[in-house]
Symmetry: D2
Subunit: 344 residues, 4 copies
Amino acid sequence: MIRAAIIGASGYTGGELIRLLSHHPDIEIKVITSRKNKGMSVSDVFPHLTGYLDITFEEPDYEKISKRVDTVFVALPHKSAMEAVSIFAPDIPVVDLSADFRFENIETYEAWYTKHSSPELLDISVYGLPEIYRENIREAKIIGNPGCYPTGAILGLYPLIKEKIIKESGIIIDSKSGLSGAGRNQSTSNLFTEISESTSPYNVGTHRHSPEIEEKLCAIAKSKVNITFTPHLVPMSRGILSTIYAERSGEFSTKDILEVFGDIYKDEPFVRILPEGKNPNTAWVRGSNFIDIGAVSLRSTDRLVVMTAIDNLVKGASGQAIQNMNIILGFPEDAGLSTIPLFP
Amino acid sequence: MIRAAIIGASGYTGGELIRLLSHHPDIEIKVITSRKNKGMSVSDVFPHLTGYLDITFEEPDYEKISKRVDTVFVALPHKSAMEAVSIFAPDIPVVDLSADFRFENIETYEAWYTKHSSPELLDISVYGLPEIYRENIREAKIIGNPGCYPTGAILGLYPLIKEKIIKESGIIIDSKSGLSGAGRNQSTSNLFTEISESTSPYNVGTHRHSPEIEEKLCAIAKSKVNITFTPHLVPMSRGILSTIYAERSGEFSTKDILEVFGDIYKDEPFVRILPEGKNPNTAWVRGSNFIDIGAVSLRSTDRLVVMTAIDNLVKGASGQAIQNMNIILGFPEDAGLSTIPLFP
Amino acid sequence: MIRAAIIGASGYTGGELIRLLSHHPDIEIKVITSRKNKGMSVSDVFPHLTGYLDITFEEPDYEKISKRVDTVFVALPHKSAMEAVSIFAPDIPVVDLSADFRFENIETYEAWYTKHSSPELLDISVYGLPEIYRENIREAKIIGNPGCYPTGAILGLYPLIKEKIIKESGIIIDSKSGLSGAGRNQSTSNLFTEISESTSPYNVGTHRHSPEIEEKLCAIAKSKVNITFTPHLVPMSRGILSTIYAERSGEFSTKDILEVFGDIYKDEPFVRILPEGKNPNTAWVRGSNFIDIGAVSLRSTDRLVVMTAIDNLVKGASGQAIQNMNIILGFPEDAGLSTIPLFP
Amino acid sequence: MIRAAIIGASGYTGGELIRLLSHHPDIEIKVITSRKNKGMSVSDVFPHLTGYLDITFEEPDYEKISKRVDTVFVALPHKSAMEAVSIFAPDIPVVDLSADFRFENIETYEAWYTKHSSPELLDISVYGLPEIYRENIREAKIIGNPGCYPTGAILGLYPLIKEKIIKESGIIIDSKSGLSGAGRNQSTSNLFTEISESTSPYNVGTHRHSPEIEEKLCAIAKSKVNITFTPHLVPMSRGILSTIYAERSGEFSTKDILEVFGDIYKDEPFVRILPEGKNPNTAWVRGSNFIDIGAVSLRSTDRLVVMTAIDNLVKGASGQAIQNMNIILGFPEDAGLSTIPLFP
């Protein structure tokens, strides 16, 4: 059994890593850390996980932890994350769920986040979107696990840009997210009473997932790609529905477009292309590592609409982290990721 | 007191007409009809309204009703609506909440809905968006009360098109609606269990509010305006948040854009322009006749984003209907519309 | 116009006082205080109230405020509340929404809360449940505005105890509350993500509303009344549904019981007794000052079930506070309280 | 592999049977039936299950189906259920999720439901609550799978009655249920708009789960047990929280009571007894076959409170059905039931 540590395990992504790895046939959680909850049991922090993992949260002493485990998941905020990663990597493979290793261009990272403390590690890190970068992931020492919004956006645009179905300017991504993406922290604005019956955009034109999406799309297009990205909060716990608008580069019907998606993703275990006339729904992927994708080529304009649905905590975070780790460690890619969506 | 009838009063818009008119100083509800619920009391159908209106639902006998009332609200599905309207109009002023009198171009109506049975009445009908058509409404005999999505979309675009702030092609309207827009009818797909934790687009590229929006925007622009409109259902009861993307026609800052809105809507009792940095939220308008509008001019692209929030049952339906009737009857425009938004 | 101050106006009950008083024909809000939000406008703190009250939150300087207003609503936590009340009373009539003036027995208060700093004021204070204590309220200088749970529980039991329909031991009150009762404070446990899909009891056997309910029921019964009270949180914003179980003292049918309720509450403007076969629902009273009451006399046992529904922020807090103030000031009891329930 | 049929598989319990059995190592679904959806694929009816089961719904021809499968789950309404069961049993083991085989006393069944068409089969049927009747289930041919409310109520009372901790009269069960218990049928009253912000009791004193609970408790007590049961709907999809009130038969502390529960359920794979001071929460068991149980012995009265939480679709229906089938077929009791609760 591979021994794993989860650094910063008391948030929602930490809880999901524990939930999913509890079913993993080849990985065993040996260490979970939390400054705030050290000494507490898993069931104190996550009552739903009572009975599944009989260890306590410990203080994050990375040096000592590095001697006790074979692999590490880092679920810390950015900045704290790269400090942790630098202790474990490159000897121990690390999946980092923060933004610290997602960017190839360090200037972009530093413009949107903070000064990078381990720029040398960027060379051995890979952006962890398996459907696009699987071969690089296999050789990586550090995975920059994608943001939740970028996962849904990039996988919805990749085939269209790769196959030059759409023009590279004027792409609009309108995303609707559940609240778990906002984390498990003290807050007034995310109280039930504030969120129920509320739909609202936030960080319009300034969300830090914009440059992440743009960098990856530019690399796919091998040219400048310009996007407009608007995130919204809608009153649900899990899920991101991204509605993507782009200008067609030629005459492509809905059928044509769905065939391109079907073709490119045909061997992907976690991508489900919906048949013509069906639209994705966050409720159909909840709790699972799936991304559901639908598309419509509009008749009245020269645009198409692509819609993707993910569970932001699974394919948008912890599930994808495990998928990446499976690739690195040579396990079946779906090990530990067999949860069937829970509906209703 | 003006005596009013509500035809088809047992749905959500009917309930809202009763709720709002119960506070109207000059209009008294004399007749409510419902084929399905005839003979039932208001409190049987709307327990929340217990104590406010002591009449029973009656069979819709339009001829007889026309002798007992001075004004009529028609809250029937399209087709049934125009049949009812044709009995009352032009002698009795009618606000029709269906689509039957919303279109100037009868071919558009017939292409998207059904054959029009009273084309001659279209000449005396006016599209009931007071912020744009107030003067015409004053003289109208029939009001085609706007659709819920068009209300939020057109009011968000009107100043920009009028003042030529944006280009007329490539407008995208991405709307998120609560479930009350789907009505109070037997349904499996709108069960609580199906909707909770669900966000999903529907009628992508084919929603009948698209041609309604386009016809009105074309009239404002006096040229062809082409839109892409995608409605979504999100798990809340009331509210529509519309996120509108358009290409700027020149250099306009967020401040410039908000000034244009502020200027054009400065005397409007139900339009609230949010200050720079604030985004509208459906929770802030719930139960009221307000439309809240925010805007951002994006720095990284040549686009701007306008966001509008309404309560679909009030400004998007029954409240606007009363606003229109107040204009026709010469009452203060906000009579009966004083409900302050209910939050949380 | 009577000039009012709201002390501690930035929470949900403060927001509701502003909303409701904005419609009051005879009371005008002159002062709103908030240590945390001083200097902010109403629309900064309550965007839904934008346009209704053009003053800013100020530092609570009670001495100065007492010279500028004629009446005061105190919406502070207990302890801070009695300190504020002691400055205003008895010269200025005060409705205190905290627990500080709810108890006749100071030992009970001090056992469950804290040492009382103004015991002498208890003599001029009255428990503000108008349906029972209207005459005393008329003469009071200080109103101890009832707790949200006690309002629903006591009004559901008062006629039964008064008319000796039930035995005084073995009363069980099982209450289900929305989240607004938990306030608008930073919190992890009341996040949308924690509450959605969650129903759970809390403070079982130890909630501080138990002694409040017991003291009032004992006074009504003029003997010892013993209750078991269990509050629960259910995933909604507003509303308390209390299901009350008691042993019948004789043969009383459902009809008999409803007649007793109808008789005792026949002149009450805010009590709605439901007909046999109908059960109350929090959705039917939302936003209003109503209490809806239903009852069933069980055939298979010697018990009856009474069910009451209120909006915890209105009849359970701010609405009742205004009702009390109307009585003190000699205004119509429903002034400012005309909001019709908002459904859906 | 054991071949299974699910009769009436298009409702929520059908969907859950498919979801859970898809992970079962020894049972394979061969037949799913639905009159309404015959010919449709699993993904047409349950988009979340896309990719998990490649068969279509077929017309229920029980004779033919009986030749193709080794075991049957019947998820039909009562009456239709017993007709189906009578074709398969006793040759093929059947778990029936309806009420048709839950009662020992046929008169009780017929008084509350309908005339029983196969009374002779009652002798070979067993009530499927494994924690109490495991040994009988092992030998049974037909399982009457318990109702959702009875599961939570009986397991919360069994140890207390068995060990004579409580008196047998005056037991009150106040249950709060999510909407999935109401099924996936066309409905107005269960629309999202009707349920959101709504908490309400229903079938007060007349719910058909009352006699089911009473019959089983009487058998445990070997004497007359009389209960008062009130079900409520609260705005969530899954989960039942039952708050149970009973009179102590002597001096028992909370610790004493929890020890009794711990002792009796110590080997149960799906019962989690919460430590003193923790209360169960429907969110902690969602999607899983767990029942979480907490208890408080009240100091101020002679009563105790037991609280149980289940997922009504899993432990309250489909999960328990599989647990029963595992016992009959000699499989590990938790085969196919490993889903960890999904939170948030």
